[in-house]
Subunit: 348 residues, 2 copies
DNA sequence: CTGTTAGCGCATTCAC
DNA sequence: GTGAATGCGCTAACAG
């Protein structure tokens, strides 16, 4: 066992007093090397744990077998699920992932994208920072990726202004489906709590909400949509913005906010679902174990991740770089639990 | 705007009809290049978003400014917290992270370690797969890393058989502290539910548990330690292994299991904390919002992550490779909530 | 069968 | 001021 730290072909070559390329061929089991020498070199390489330097190979092959994943917040369970799906699929197809978290900062997103442009990865999967992603100097960073021919897949929070493959949740249908369930269980005075007011996603859900109301001949009341900013104190705002007496169902756009809303309601003496029913978005661990357990829209994060990674790797490995970008729409499911009334139940 | 996909020094050089090294110097603002040419080249580079190829630089500098993070399960909130801490610190110090998940598979861990040996990263942070990590052929993979002089930091689940920097939770004190709290609130018939039976961590916690009992003159009853394997159906096993009538406090070694135990107890008509008090490990989102909210040992995952990353990067950047490996012990805190009795309260 | 050459993209040393 | 040469570690085409 040679105690050299990094064993290179050159070192092996000098040890056997042959050329580097001979060693390379021997190790790659080329038929042009004599059996004897080959065996000796291979044995030596194995004993000393020779491993070809990936960086050198990357430079040579002009690829890294690595994909960059950019998410707004790694502490959000939905994104972790997506990450899990990406990791699984990437591993299956022989790729590693380098994870970057923007913490909802547009500057950090730009910085990360800039880094990812530099040849460190073969492709990028991203869920954009919420908010003014529309800023054109920000779009610039995405354009740069595309201009450099680095495949890009956007998921969940996408932007129309960039042409690339996308994997999105059917948020319209999700909003519609949730609302239909409220109506089917006898709730008619519906409100919405939207903790992602800057994201277009919220608006799409609201459109689905509207459509369901319309189909039942109910009118949409804009005053019953409560936007909560990241800095806002919901405990203060919610009772001010919403008269709990006049509401019998609340749709909430993320999991943690859902649970907080329920806490506030219960502390004000409302009982769930008797007084007010609740449906939330993102089916994570919380909603299962909270009391009452919460009826949820599941966005199938893991599936989104797998699908995104699959598409990206297809694109990376495709020889033909055509511009037939696809948008894959993942359907949501409604997971019914205790925070909504039973279907047969109807209020009088 | 040239529509070339990857802009290289060579391309710029031929555009200006100068040599590659001139361009390199110009872009790096070397004083040896004439002001005029420098400005022209820099302007061109900027306009066309020239970025030096990271892979080439990595090869040149023999580093990657990337660290590998290996965790057993990315869906576990504790590990996500650690990951978050690592990511923050790494970013702060100019490093990227490549995340690998072993899914508690020892084979996958070996495969990942093997990959990480190949020069893809400057250092590795790992929390070992639970269980028979003692297998010597498995240890081999760690030895390889060390032999290749790749800095290694282990956190949480460490193994004595490898000499490297470590960041661990003071699990003894955590077990002790939790038990003391039970005793101080009048609980004397304590049980343990251990969902990580293969990990030495569990045993260390149990030692702390024993010591606290001993100090109060109570005897440790081995029969009240219930091990739950990953395949086990706890709903079946728990009532079989534990007589709820004879227990007034249960210590559970992870968050999700804590919540499940509470569910089972409540479904059997036990009330928490009146009949049985609960303390769990890992202070995540769940324990805050469950009813009743759970008293938890917080392991400060984020801090563990930051500390690990910091140590690793120090090691990477240290010129002197001395063998003064350190083990940093992170103290836990007890976050008291509703699942335990108030301190002043004593059962008669 | 084995070795030489060239090049992936870049920065650096040394000539001119 | 500018450029040629060298090398990071590796493979592949081409010679011998």
């Amino acid at each position: 066992m040679v105690s050299m730290n990094k064993l290179t072909l050159k070192a092996i070559a000098s040890h056997f007093k042959v050329s580097v390329s001979t060693v390379s061929k021997a190790i790659n089991d080329s038929h042009e090397i004599s059996e004897d020498l080959k065996v000796r070199i291979q044995k030596f390489a194995k004993q000393n744990h020779y491993k070809p330097n990936r960086v050198a190979l990357n430079l040579l092959n002009r690829n890294t077998k690595t994909i960059g994943v950019v998410i707004p917040n790694i502490l959000n369970y939905f994104f972790v699920q997506v990450l899990y799906g990406i990791e699984q699929m990437a591993d299956k197809r022989g790729y590693s992932i380098i994870t970057c978290s923007t913490n909802e900062s547009i500057e950090k997103e730009a910085k990360i994208l800039d880094f990812l442009c530099s040849g460190a990865v073969d492709g990028v999967i991203i869920s954009t920072v919420a908010g003014e992603t529309q800023l054109s100097d920000h779009m610039e960073h995405f354009r740069e990726l595309l201009q450099k021919q680095i495949p890009l897949v956007m998921f969940d929070r996408v932007t129309e202004r960039i042409e690339c493959d996308k994997v999105v949740v059917d948020d319209f249908e999700a909003g519609y489906k949730a609302t239909k369930h409220f109506l089917a269980t006898g709730c008619k005075n519906l409100a919405i709590v939207n903790p992602i007011p800057n994201s277009p996603i919220g608006n799409v859900r609201i459109e689905g909400f509207k459509k369901a109301l319309q189909e039942s001949g109910l009118v949409f009341d804009k005053g019953k949509v409560v936007s909560i900013g990241p800095e806002d104190d919901m405990e203060l705002i919610l009772p001010l913005s919403l008269d709990f007496e006049k509401v019998d169902g609340i749709l909430v756009f993320d999991e943690i906010t859902t649970v907080k809303v329920m806490d506030i309601l219960q502390s004000k003496g409302c009982s769930i679902p008797t007084d007010i029913s609740i449906i939330g978005f993102t089916n994570g661990e919380l909603s299962k174990y909270v009391t009452p357990s919460v009826t949820m829209i599941s966005q199938h994060g893991r599936h989104i991740g797998e699908s995104s990674a699959n598409k990206l790797i297809d694109r990376i490995e495709a020889k033909d770089r055509v511009d037939d970008f696809q948008t894959k729409i993942i359907k949501t499911s409604l997971v019914v639990r205790e925070s909504t009334l039973p279907l047969e139940h109807h209020k009088c």
